[in-house]
Amino acid sequence: MEFWVGQTLNGLSFGALLFLLASGLSLMFGLMRIVNIAIGSYYLIGAYVALSALKFSGQLGLALLGAVAAVALIGVGMQRFLLARFHAEPQPQVLLTMGAAFMFADIALWLWGGDPQRLPTPRMVAFSVEIGPSVFPAYRLVVIAVGVLVYLFLWLIQERTRLGAIVRAAVDDQEMARGLGINVGRILTAMFAVGAGLAALAGVVGGPFLGVYPGADFEVIPLAFAVVIIGGLGSLHGALAGSLLVGLVDNFGKALFPELSYFTLFLPMALVLAIRPTGLFGKG
C-alpha cells in the first residue's frame, strides 16, 4: 500500500513536470506546426541559468524569473532568425531545431561543466508530510500544485480571454486572422516565448529532485514527445492527460522493472497509436 501511494504521488509530480514541457511543445506546434526538438535544451538551460542566478543573487524567486526570461529570449531568437524563414515547412524546421539542440548542449557543457549539479529545495517546503502510511517530501506536492496552476492558467487564458480568442483564431485560420487585423507574426513569437519559458520553468522546478546534468536535455525529449504522441499535439487537455499517463507509467516502470524503465513507455505509446494515430485529443 505504502509503495503504491508513494509511487503514485511520485508519478503525478513527475507528470506535472512533464506537463510544463509538453504544454510548451504543444503551444509552439499548435500555431506554427513546429516540432521543437530544442525543448529539452530550454529545459536544461533554464535549470543552469537558475543555478547561476542563484549563486549570484541568493534569491530563488529571482533565479526562477531570470531563467524563464533568459530562455524565453533564446526561444524568440530562434523563432525570429532561424525558423521564421521556413514557414510551413516542417522538415527543415525540425532539422534546424535538432542542430540548435546539439549546439545548446555543447555550449551548456562549455559554460557549466560536466559535473551533475542540483538546485536547492526552497526552504519553505523542505520538509516531509505523512500521507496515510507513507512519508512524502512536501516539495513534490508543490510541483504537482505548480502543474495544476499552470494548467488552469493556460486553460483560462485560452478559453476565457480575448487574447485566448485571438490565439485560437490564429490557430484555426491564420489567413482569416490576418485579414481581421490580427498581427499573427507577433502572436507566433509571443507563443514561442511562452513555450520556451514553460520549458525553462520545468527545468527550474525539476532541478531540486531530478538534478541538472549534461544529457538531461536529450533524456526529457522522448518523454515530452511520448506525452504529445499519447495526448495529441496542439491540445492542452491532451498534454495534461498524456503527462499524467507518462509520468505514472515511467515511475512505475522504474520501480517495478528498473532494467526496462525507459522502454516501458513503448507500450502505452503503441497502444494509443494503435487506437488513435493522432493521440487521445489530437485533431488529425
Binding site: V94, G99, F102, D106, I221, P222, F225, E259, L260
Partner: protein
C-alpha cells in the same frame, strides 16, 4: 558539339570506375589511421544508405535510425560474448534481430505520418537507447560490451589486420549497396517515390501505400542493422552511445549532406561526417557544437546536399550540351521537336 556530349557520356562510368579503384587501392597506400576512417565511412555509409530509402525515396524522416544499427551491433556482441557463437551465426543473428525490431517498430511508427512519424521514431530510438543503458545484466549498461572477438570466417588472411578486414567489409557493403540500388530502381522503388510525391494519389491508383511504406521501413531497418553488425566486428566494442539520438541525427545529416534520394550520396555524407569528426576531435572536444553548426548550415545553404548539387550541375551541363546540339533540329517540323525540347522533364526529378 556532339564530341562534348560523348565526353559527358563517357565521364560518368569513368568517374565511377575511378571511385571503385580508389576504394580498392587507397587502403594499400595510406596510413592505417585512414583505413580506420574508411571502414567507419563504409559502416556508417550502410546505415545512411538505408536511411535514404526512407528519407529520400519514401519521404519519411526517421530520427531513430541508429536504434537498428545499435541493436544489430549489440546482438552480435551478446551472441559472441555470452554464447560464444561464431562470426557468421552472430552476424546473421544481429541482422535478424534488427529485422524483427523494424517489423515491430514499423507497426507503431507507420500509424502516423509526416511530423508525427518523425517524433515517434525519435521516441522509439531513445526507448531503445534506454534499453541499452539500463538493461545492465544484458547490455553491460553504460560500460557497453567490450572485447568482442574479431570476425573469423575461414579466410586464409587474418581479419585482425585492419586492411584485410577493410576489404571484407568493402565487399559486404558493395553487395548491400547493389541490393539497395536494385531495390530503389525496381518498380517497387518507383512506387515509393510516388508515395513521396503524393500518397493520396497513389492510394487512389490502387496501391496499398501502407504496405509499401512498411516494406521500405523494414528493409531500411534491416540494412541499418547490417551496418551495426559490421561496425561491431571491426570495433570490438559497442555502447549506449552507438544507439543514442546523436547517432540517429548524424545519420540524418549524412543523408542530407550527401543528398537525399541519391542512395550513394549518403555514403559520401558519411565520409564527410566521419572525417570531420576525427579532424575536429584532433583539435577540440567541441564536436557536438560543430555537428549542430553543420546541421544548421546544411539546412540553410545546401538543402540538396553534395551529390544533389553535383547532379543539378550535371543536369545543367547536359541541358547546355543538348541546347548546343539543337540547331540541327531546327529544320524539323515543330511537332517532332517538341517532345525532345524538354529532355529533363518530370521523369528525372522524380
Amino acid at each position: 558539339m556532339s564530341s562534348l556530349r560523348s565526353v559527358l557520356r563517357v565521364l560518368r562510368p569513368v568517374a565511377l570506375a575511378a571511385l571503385a579503384a580508389a576504394f580498392l587501392v587507397v587502403p594499400r597506400i595510406v596510413p592505417v589511421y585512414f583505413v580506420h576512417l574508411l571502414i567507419l565511412t563504409l559502416v556508417y555509409g550502410t546505415m545512411a544508405m538505408s536511411l535514404d530509402l526512407l528519407m529520400g525515396y519514401t519521404g519519411l524522416v526517421s530520427f531513430g535510425h541508429a536504434a537498428y544499427f545499435g541493436v544489430g551491433g549489440y546482438t552480435v556482441g551478446i551472441l559472441a560474448l555470452r554464447y560464444g557463437l561464431p562470426t557468421l551465426a552472430a552476424g546473421v543473428g544481429g541482422v535478424l534481430v534488427a529485422f524483427v525490431q523494424a517489423l515491430l517498430f514499423g507497426l507503431v511508427a507507420l500509424r502516423a505520418t509526416a511530423v508525427y512519424f518523425l517524433i515517434i521514431t525519435l521516441a522509439l530510438g531513445m526507448a531503445t537507447w534506454g534499453l541499452a543503458y539500463r538493461w545492465v545484466s544484458l547490455t553491460g549498461g553504460d560500460n557497453g560490451l567490450a572485447g568482442i572477438p574479431p570476425p573469423e570466417v575461414g579466410l586464409p588472411w587474418s581479419l585482425s589486420d585492419p586492411t584485410n578486414l577493410y576489404y571484407l567489409i568493402l565487399g559486404v557493403v558493395v553487395l548491400a549497396a547493389l541490393v539497395l540500388y536494385r531495390f530503389v530502381r525496381s518498380p517497387f522503388g518507383l512506387s515509393l517515390r510516388g508515395i513521396r510525391e503524393s500518397e493520396s494519389r497513389m492510394r487512389v491508383l490502387g496501391y496499398n501505400t501502407w504496405a509499401h511504406k512498411y516494406v521500405a521501413f523494414v528493409v531500411a531497418g534491416t540494412f541499418s542493422g547490417l551496418g551495426g553488425v559490421l561496425y561491431v566486428f571491426y570495433n570490438g566494442f559497442v555502447s549506449p552511445a552507438d544507439v543514442h539520438l546523436t547517432g540517429s541525427a548524424e545519420a540524418v545529416l549524412m543523408v542530407l549532406l550527401g543528398g537525399s534520394g541519391t542512395l550513394f550520396g549518403p555514403v559520401i555524407g558519411a565520409g564527410v561526417v566521419v572525417f570531420l569528426r576525427n579532424l575536429v576531435s584532433a583539435y577540440t572536444h567541441r564536436w557536438l557544437l560543430i555537428l549542430g553548426l553543420v546541421y544548421v548550415l546544411t539546412v540553410l545553404y545546401a538543402p540538396r546536399g553534395i551529390l544533389g548539387a553535383a547532379q543539378e550541375l550535371w543536369r545543367r551541363l547536359e541541358r547546355a550540351v543538348v541546347r548546343e546540339a539543337e540547331p540541327r533540329a531546327e529544320v524539323r517540323p515543330i511537332e517532332e521537336v517538341a517532345p525532345q525540347q524538354n529532355p529533363t522533364g518530370g521523369e528525372e526529378s522524380v
